[in-house]
Amino acid sequence: MKKSQPTTTSTNIVYAGLIGATVGVMVVVILTVWADLNRGVWEWLRDTLTHHWVGKGIIGAAAFIISGAFVAGGPPKSEASMLRAARTLYWTSAAGGIFLVAYFFYEVFIRAS
């Protein structure tokens, strides 16, 4: 099988995608809790971006694109950097998902009772 040759461009693009996704996930988590605790933020999302949930998705996607573009244009990334970025995305998305489920569980079943 022909072995792929490492290229700086492909490593940078993948690195950008991984960083973009990590930042996007973090932004979604922060926005979710912030809008839940602050009615003004929730209303701003609804009034500016048609719906609070649509707004969170748009801002999360924008964070992905902006942060990814920012790092893609930087210096060539090493294989080790790419691995670190993949590991960071893994832990951020797993922890973010668990946190949000735990947050809503707390809000509905513990704080409300």
């Binding site: 691995l83 993949a86 973010g96 509905v108």
Partner: protein, 147 residues
């Protein structure tokens, strides 16, 4: 409006299955790159369709009609916990899907020749499949509370 819900569910399940197939294919002794690239691309497209149809259903029907029925019914937690958690964790999926799909398309067989990368890629695929499966289960609970 129901068509959006049906498409959302089918696309989400399809996306989860495509990434599940990618996960299994990556763990093979001799992964087939061409096939895995197709699986991840189909998975990404399915997740994007699931996202768009979710927005159409949620904003056009669920928010104004179904949500109130659930909250006023005997199981308000079906929306307050299951739906709220689901709709926000769901937003991770398009981002994760794009990042992982880029890995397969840009890195090729480096995914299993570079030390550590195969296992990390498998873990990311595992997160996508886990979240996708949870989305399906939580959606069933929310839908069940409408009855």
């Amino acid at each position: 409006m129901t068509i959006w819900l049906i498409l959302h569910v089918l696309a989400g399940l399809a996306g989860t299955l495509w990434y599940g197939a990618s996960w299994l294919g990556l763990e093979r002794k001799d992964p087939l790159l061409g096939r895995l690239k197709k699986y991840t691309l189909f998975g990404l497209l399915a997740m994007l369709v699931s996202w768009i149809t979710a927005a159409l259903y949620y904003t056009g029907y669920y928010g104004g009609t179904v949500r109130r029925v659930i909250i006023d019914g005997p199981y308000p937690w079906a929306h307050e916990f299951f739906m709220e958690a689901k709709e926000h964790v769901f937003l991770f999926l398009p981002l994760l899907s794009l990042a992982v799909t880029l890995m397969f398309w840009m890195l090729g067989d480096r995914l299993w020749t570079q030390p550590g990368l195969q296992s990390l890629t498998a873990k990311l695929l595992g997160v996508i499949v886990t979240i996708g499966s949870l989305m399906a289960i939580m959606g069933v609970v929310a839908s069940g509370a409408v009855r």
